[in-house]
């Protein structure tokens, strides 16, 4: 209880994030986003691609939490809840689709699903 009170006191000393710290968090977030993007663009395994989208969600969540802290407004954290929701829904559906696709072609390679290409004309 004492620890709890202490921790409460610790947290109660509300100190907003400085601009410097904010920019650090944001750069971390941007780096994670860029890495996720690069992974999505370069990996050919469909599951890894979805993992990379989750990574990008993570990056967005970090940015939101950082801003929430910076502005001292919990709305940012609420948005992260929604991000979690969407991520969960997306994971359920996307993984279902991946399983479906895997059943058809017996491979997780995204490149095999390219029927929608335009046949090159001379």
């Amino acid at each position: 209880m004492n620890w709890a009170a202490d921790s409460c006191a610790f947290f109660a000393a509300v100190q907003p994030l400085g601009q410097l710290a904010l920019s650090h968090y944001l750069i971390t977030s941007a780096a994670l986003f860029a890495i996720g993007l690069i992974g999505f663009l370069s990996r050919r395994n469909m599951i890894i691609m979805f993992l990379c989208t989750e990574l990008m969600f993570q990056a967005a969540a970090i940015a939101m939490i950082a801003f929430s802290r910076f502005h001292l407004d919990v709305s940012g954290q609420v948005f992260v809840i929604f991000i979690l929701t969407v991520a969960a829904a997306e994971a359920a559906l996307a993984l279902g689709l991946v399983v479906l696709l895997y059943r058809r072609r017996e491979t997780l390679n995204a490149d095999v699903w390219s029927e929608l290409r335009e046949t090159p004309t001379p």
Binding site: F40, L41, R44, A110, E115, L116, R117, T121
Partner: protein, 720 residues
């Protein structure tokens, strides 16, 4: 010479005023002059649609034209003073412009009848009736083919010509003007399967367009300057009335007024085949001979003379206009006569003589003897109709043979007497043999030329008269006199059998499916009743027209074409002119007699001698080749136009079509094709593009926009 014209202005107008001021309403039954040919046209069309293969269309046409002639005669009988006969409302526009100026454009479908109109209409409908009668026999072989079409064309022509002559205003005149051009096109191209006929029809039509453009512009300028296109009306605001009152501003119009006579002149030259637009008329002989006689000799080609005579007050708006008319007429007369001398085709000779005689008429208008011009038109209509119709009879009988070197001694052949002797009368008139009709009418013009002191023009015309007498009797002595000999033509009938023309040799052997028995044998068949009757009647008309001088004088002098000035009276005509002219005519006939009857070989010898001499070699060659005018036009106008058209065609084909039309279509195609590889179906390449696009969007909005903002605000005026 300018003084003479200036002198004439006032008095001429006075007459016009007198003629125009008292306009009364005429009888409305005169409208039948127009309606009858229209009805005939419709009935001919019905005949064609019902496939009536009899002579019914001819009788319908002849009947309606005859009634039309009777109506004209009745109108003539009842004529007291100039009349206006409104038939239909056509253009009746009145408006008030923004600045409150009232304006109007009134052109009713109405007749303006004065004595000039009556004179013209009498011979137009009279000759029209007779020639339609003649054609009923002449066109016999075509009964199963274009018979109805031919007579429909004649009806159209009569309708349009009546419109032209009877018109109450210039717009209706223009309607008739274009109508006769259309009828001419229709009938020249009657044998439409023959390329030469089609080419001739096109040539006539296109050359006439040039003249018609002049006429149209002239009419527009008249409306622009005078605010009316009516000749005369009861309110006194007609064209002649305005001109007579002098209430228009001559200097205000400036060039736009002074250009009117020249534009009208251009129209007249086109329709009446004068330099430089005469080239269509000789080619127009591709049409059936009755058409040549009616349209291209007697009536339509005189429409130009009619126009100038009718518009005489307008022609005096520029002092140089009438002298120009005179000189161009004179030059045309000379040129056409020299060409006619060297031709061998009867119809062509008559065609060139027509051009030449039309030149005389224009000289008549140009030197202000509208009486002489109209008299010559009148006499010429008869004798030239006779000549053409006799030529047509020869053509009809000798299976299209028209070469004067291949027919001889017609008057000794059985059944051809009427043709030969009527042709002689026509030739005498054309040659101006003393006391013939042509002699009097031509003399009227010649005397006037000398009376207004234009000796050069006068002597040129006298020389032309000599040539005329020569080439006229060259035909008669060759064809009608001398020993009997003939060669049949290549065609079954005088007028190009379109179905067999391309294979002439087999055409003779194959039994013609439409020809009467008389045509089967390769024997000339003399003309029968209809042709002979018409020949005799018109010849009688030609003879009678000799004595019509004072009658025509009366007609002309009581119309807008009246010219009353000192030089116009006979007293001022030099007395020696008729003598000289008569002598010259006789001399020409004698020369023709020598070369073409007495010793025909000498003509060939003369030609050979001229050809042998390098200095004179050009003369017969150039004359036989019509002075290379067609070739000159071809080189000067047609070829550049063709090149221009071809350049435009290439421009259209390769720049407009290929570059713009197809290019605009190809641009997206090409762009699509160049971006096609992007759509490779691989999900991640799409993602790359999308991420790149998002990056670009951020770049634009976040990085570039702050720099672009001032520029954008400046560009769009700071609205943003």
């Amino acid at each position: 010479m300018t003084e003479a014209v200036q002198l004439s202005l006032g008095s001429g107008w006075l007459a016009a005023v007198d003629a125009a001021r008292s306009v009364i309403a005429g009888p409305s039954w005169a409208g039948w002059i127009l309606w009858l040919p229209l009805i005939s046209l419709v009935l001919c069309g019905v005949c064609a649609a019902l496939k009536i293969h009899t002579k019914l269309p001819a009788w319908i046409t002849v009947g309606s034209l005859a009634i039309s002639f009777v109506v004209i005669v009745a109108l003539y009988m009842s004529y007291r003073q100039p009349m206006e006969i409104p038939l239909l409302d056509w253009f009746n526009l009145n408006w008030r412009s923004n600045d409150g100026q009232a304006g109007s454009f009134v052109a009713g479908f109405a007749f303006y009848v004065d004595k000039l109109t009556l004179l013209w209409m009498l011979f137009v409908t009279g000759l029209g009736t007779l020639i339609a009668l003649y054609a009923s026999e002449y066109m016999e072989p075509d009964v199963k083919r274009g018979y109805a079409r031919f007579f429909a064309g004649i009806s159209v022509f009569l309708f349009a010509m009546s419109c032209l002559v009877l018109a109450d205003n210039l717009v209706m005149l223009y309607l008739g003007w274009e109508g006769v051009g259309f009828a001419s096109y229709w009938l020249i191209g009657y044998y439409y399967t023959r390329p030469s006929a089609v080419a001739a029809a096109k040539k006539a039509f296109i050359v006439n367009r040039i003249g018609d453009l002049g006429l149209a512009l002239g009419i527009w300028l008249i409306y622009y300057n005078f605010g009316t296109v009516e000749y005369a009306n009861a309110q006194g605001t007609g064209l002649f009335q305005i001109l007579a009152s002098g209430s228009y501003k001559h200097e205000a119009g400036g060039w736009s007024i002074q250009a009117i006579p020249f534009l009208l002149m251009l129209g007249a030259f086109g329709k009446s085949a004068q330099i430089p637009l005469y080239v269509w008329l000789p080619d127009a002989m591709e049409g059936p001979t009755p058409v040549s006689a009616l349209i291209h000799a007697a009536t339509m080609v005189t429409a130009g003379v009619y126009l100038l005579a009718r518009m005489l007050p307008v022609m005096e708006l520029h002092p140089a206009a009438l002298p120009t008319v005179a000189w161009i007429g004179g030059l045309t007369a000379l040129l056409a006569a020299t060409i006619g001398m060297a031709q061998y085709d009867i119809k062509r000779i008559w065609a060139y003589s027509t051009v030449s005689q039309l030149g005389f008429m224009f000289v008549g208008v140009g030197v202000l003897t509208t009486y002489g011009a109209a008299f010559h038109v009148f006499t010429h209509a008869f004798f030239k109709a006779v000549l053409f119709l006799t030529g047509g009879a020869v053509m009809h009988g000798f299976a299209g043979q028209l070469d004067i070197r291949k027919i001889s001694g017609l008057r000794h052949m059985p059944g051809w007497q009427i043709t030969a002797w009527t042709m002689l009368v026509g030739c005498l008139c054309l040659a101006g043999f003393p006391l013939s009709s042509g002699f009097f009418s031509k003399d009227e013009i010649l005397a006037q030329v000398f009376a207004v002191h234009r000796p050069w023009l006068g002597f040129m015309l006298l020389f032309t008269a000599l040539l005329t007498a020569y080439y006229t009797f060259r035909v008669w002595f060759r064809v009608c006199a001398g020993p009997v000999s003939y060669e049949m033509g290549e065609e079954h009938h005088g007028h190009g059998d379109d179905h067999h023309h391309g294979k002439a040799d087999t055409g003779h052997k194959a039994p013609p499916r439409h020809a009467p028995p008389a045509h089967v044998a390769h024997q000339p068949h003399p003309p029968r009743f209809a042709i002979n009757f018409v020949l005799v009647v018109i010849t009688v008309g030609a003879i009678i027209s000799t004595f019509s001088g004072s009658w025509v004088m009366d007609k002309v002098s009581h119309s807008s074409a009246a010219v009353l000035h000192a030089a116009d009276s006979h007293e001022h005509h030099p007395g020696w002119v008729p003598w000289l002219a008569g002598t010259i005519a006789v001399a020409g006939i004698v020369v023709a007699w020598h070369f073409h009857l007495a010793s025909r070989k000498s003509a060939d010898a003369l030609r050979a001698r001229l050809l042998a001499n390098p200095l004179t070699r050009w003369l017969p060659t150039a004359m036989e080749n019509k002075w290379y005018v067609d070739e000159f036009y071809e080189w000067m106008i047609v070829t550049p136009l063709w090149i221009f058209a071809h350049a435009l065609y290439l421009f259209d084909r390769y720049v407009i079509d290929l570059l713009f039309v197809d290019g605009v279509a190809r641009l997206p195609k090409w762009m699509g094709r160049s971006f096609q590889p992007l759509q490779n179906g691989v999900l991640q390449s799409y993602a790359v593009l999308m991420a790149g696009g998002v990056g670009l969007a951020i770049l634009l909005v976040v990085v570039l926009m702050p720099h672009l903002r001032p520029w954008l605000i400046g560009f769009f005026g700071g609205g943003g």
